[in-house]
């Protein structure tokens, strides 16, 4: 039960962070005044 709950939370976290990464990648910059380097997989060549 505990393990399944942990895995569910980790999966939800992965989904949320991926969504944030894709949303940030599709825009010009992040929320604030600092822009971290974009990962290669999301960079447009």
């Amino acid at each position: 039960m505990g393990k399944r709950f942990t895995k569910l939370m980790v999966t939800l976290g992965a989904g949320l962070f991926t969504l944030f990464a894709l949303s940030t990648s599709a825009s010009a910059c992040v929320f604030g005044y600092y822009q971290p380097e974009e990962p290669k997989a999301l960079r447009e060549e």
Binding site: T6, F17, F20, A28, Y33, P36, E38, A41
Partner: protein, 228 residues
């Protein structure tokens, strides 16, 4: 490496090893975690400063207007995530205080005129300069540039509509905070448009340098490197 970067990388490592993901996916999750933590941290700082200086609603509306437009138009950047959050919170709070002072001596028509001027200038600057990219996230494709410019102008339209609704609500119900929120949108929009210009870049660079020196003075950085 900055604290937020370390935390987001640790989170991504934990998630990817639990779910057996590859390195590429881990990098994407770390990037998303960074964006998430940075957003939450920035909002929390705006709320804290807003409560301290009694301009919570104003600071939040200004910060939201700036961020919504900034997402597509880009603009000047700070060189550290902590300074970035702090600069954002300080600017939103200072502009919130300015709005509070302005609504006490400006009438409805003067504020509406300020709104027209602010949006006219912003439309001009955004249509000329947006999107403004950065070294960390260059925008190379012409199609992406066109798409971001289109979205920046759409966002300006949305903010204009929101301000118009707030003006109408004030006209009907005569609630002061509603008029202050409309003025917050005007100020947020013009500030964000200003950060797209060369002068805006220079000014934000100077503010960033000022904060860097203050951090150095307080002992949070040594020889340009973070020590926490």
């Amino acid at each position: 490496m900055f604290l937020i970067e370390r935390v987001s990388k640790a989170l991504a490592y934990g998630i990817s090893s639990t779910l057996n993901m590859d390195k590429e996916r881990e990098e994407i999750i770390a990037y998303g975690a960074f964006a998430f933590i940075q957003t939450v941290w920035s909002i929390l700082l705006v709320i804290t400063f807003g409560i301290i200086f009694n301009v919570l609603v104003q600071a939040l509306v200004i910060s939201l207007s700036i961020s919504l437009l900034r997402k597509y138009s880009g603009g000047a950047h700070s060189s550290s995530p902590n300074r970035c959050a702090l600069i954002g919170a300080v600017i939103s709070t200072l502009l919130g205080i300015l709005v509070n002072t302005a609504v006490s001596f400006m009438d409805f028509y003067q504020i509406a005129l300020a709104g027209i001027i602010s949006f006219a200038l912003s439309y001009f600057i955004v249509s000329k300069l947006a999107p403004v990219d950065s070294a960390a996230k260059p925008i190379k494709k012409a199609e992406t540039r066109r798409r971001l410019k289109r979205k920046s102008l759409c966002m300006l339209n949305l903010l204009f509509l929101a301000a118009a609704v707030l003006n109408a609500l004030y006209y009907i119900y005569d609630i002061q905070i509603v008029l202050a929120c409309a003025l917050c949108i005007y100020i947020g929009v013009i500030w964000q448009a200003f950060t797209l210009t060369k002068t805006g870049h220079l000014m934000l660079g100077a503010i960033d340098e000022l904060f860097r020196k203050a951090f150095l003075f307080m002992g949070r950085e040594k020889n340009g490197k973070k020590i926490y």
